[in-house]
Point group: C2
């Protein structure tokens, strides 16, 4: 066993999910995640946790859904009970084909997801953590070799999470105390937004921080009253469409102009989805320095140290004051801008927090 797989399992079980003796743990194993499954089983055995292993097969899901008449039973109790009784759910993703579900009709997928809303909620009520085992299919999607992709994934995951959580706490303090965010870049980006009365989340890849993805490494909050222009120079694929250099203009918090070198129509469709899809639900600041390249996998890209992402659509409850609903929408689509370029500045209440991708507490920072 590659020792990195064992380390990954240790971080998942100890740092991320905080598994204790006697915990009831569902381990969901993707088609390509077998080896990580074995390593996680070893860690769970050592800690005296109980384990039920489910098989998260995209090919079985596809066959089942396509063969169905779409009249799915709502939250079958034998499955709902499994999650309702569990303490933790560890999802070990690792696809063998990122297009495995491409020919499931969208109405079918929607009907299936709707019928399982209660199961999803029961799952989200546990100390769940989602992580990814490197596969050839994911390497292919990232446009790199299998070996290089494994290095990439483990650089992102095998961090000193305690130290990173402390660093991120500094940024959370600044955001929690701050009111006005100003993002400027040499490419014309000049954007302001309000974060007054909002609470930032220190997403440190652990349920102890209410953070459920491994890797993580971002601090995020819910902005309002966005004004100005922003250029998203990190390319990505959204719903199968390549998006390049998306440029959005905001007035009174809403998108008023859309342009892009590629994928402009797809972006327009997203912005036009509903009431809240033309407003920002999230301002996220990537702080994971182990992620040093774009792989077109949002779980990694949005955490990259020296990037900022903004999501159109739904805001996270954790960022909002009690009783406030925040921006609501069926969508939550992240777009990323790279701050590791010349003449970029992130200011909060007039103070420079980050310049050219370096935070003010980093050695490379030029004040």
């Amino acid at each position: 066993m590659d020792s990195r797989i064992t380390e990954h399992a240790q971080i998942l079980v100890d740092w991320s999910a905080r598994i204790d003796d006697g915990d009831d743990v569902v381990v969901s194993v993707g088609e390509g995640a077998h080896k990580l499954g074995v390593a996680v089983a070893e860690q769970l055995g050592e800690r005296g946790a109980n384990m039920v292993v489910t098989y998260d097969s995209e090919e079985m899901d596809r066959a089942y859904q396509r063969a169905s008449d779409r009249n799915f039973e709502t939250d079958p109790e034998f499955e709902h009970g499994l999650y309702a009784e569990a303490d933790s759910v560890l999802s070990l993703r690792g696809t063998r084909n990122t297009s495995a579900g491409a020919d499931i009709p969208e109405e079918t997928q929607t009907a299936f997801a709707q019928a399982r809303e209660g199961i999803r909620e029961a799952r989200l009520d546990t100390d769940w953590v989602s992580t990814v085992h490197p596969t050839r299919a994911l390497a292919q999607q990232a446009g790199t070799s299998y070996e290089a992709y494994q290095d990439f994934v483990y650089d992102a995951i095998l961090r000193d999470w305690e130290a990173l959580a402390e660093e991120m706490a500094q940024l959370k303090d600044v955001l929690d105390a701050g009111s006005e965010v100003w993002i400027r870049k040499g490419d014309g980006t000049d954007l302001t937004m309000s974060i007054a009365d909002r609470t930032a989340v220190n997403s440190a890849a652990s349920v102890a921080y209410d953070s459920h993805n491994l890797p993580s490494g971002e601090v995020f909050t819910a902005p309002a009253a966005t004004e100005g222009e922003v250029n998203f120079d990190v390319p990505m694929t959204i719903r199968g469409t390549r998006i390049e250099n998306a440029r959005l203009t905001f007035e009174d918090g809403a998108v008023v102009d859309i342009a892009a070198d590629a994928g402009e129509d797809a972006l327009r469709t997203i912005v036009d989805t509903d009431e809240g899809s033309d407003r920002l639900g999230e301002l996220g600041i990537g702080m994971n320095r182990g992620i040093d390249r774009v792989t077109d996998q949002i779980l990694f890209d949005e955490k990259m140290g020296g990037t900022i992402h903004l999501a159109l659509g739904r805001a996270y409850k954790a960022c909002l004051p009690d009783g406030e609903e925040g921006n609501q929408s069926a969508v939550h689509v992240d777009l990323i801008t790279n701050m590791q370029t010349e003449d970029t500045v992130l200011e909060i209440d007039g103070e420079v927090i980050q310049r050219n991708g370096h935070f003010r507490w980093e050695a490379e920072f030029e004040g």
Copy 2:
């Protein structure tokens, strides 16, 4: 998809498990059984059944058990509930290494099994069916190529089960009405036993026949008062030891002499296990003509048309009159004799039922 895999899934879901719309079905997928899993998912989707997929990974089990301190919690509720609520459990076996669990200490395996007795019972209380997907590891164990092994497995599984069930019903009638069984072979086998007041099971690979293995194809009952000698000329591996030409002598129902060309000591250990391990718990008559070769896999070998197997140890409740316990033992070890040889006769109450491997209702039978 190999059309035989689809046919296998259809037989499993329709004939064996009798799955209906709305049934709650747990599908357990072995490490090497993915393709059958996909085919079964399609069938379940078509029938409107609900599906939870578990991953039956021997490598994960091994890692978990070996890392543990053996203090396993008894029947964790989140797992017990899954089986207690399920209507059916379909176990798709298909190992990638028949020795995957070889280095789990036996005390650990025993402790694990004991802690999960309630889960096992809940599972057995469902309409469960166990079947096997052909893998390279199983082909290797059978001493043949992967292609030839697939042919072998599908010949055994893709039968006209309805017709076979009818044929087996004839033999069940004979056994139910009969009292005295006499088995003779040219190799010195000369064995009598009583089956008076016993009920035979028509094991037709369907829950409708209280038969839970696919393939099946045997009729079995619980004998008593065994007398004489029997030669088991079908070689097999029991607990890792090769057994060849085992010869047992019975007096007053109990083994009084043991000999074998190979594995005599292992046989002796089995016979000496406990009170009931020196008596027969089962007389089984193989009737699956799709199985035409020995593969050292008991699930197949004991069903082979033209063979008879006798099990040392535990008897099945279904064969016994109400209130009678039958032979009790911790072991149930099947040994097989080939009746497709010269001068073999199976007589019941003085009537020849089978000669040289042919039943009296078969064209080849010489009365």
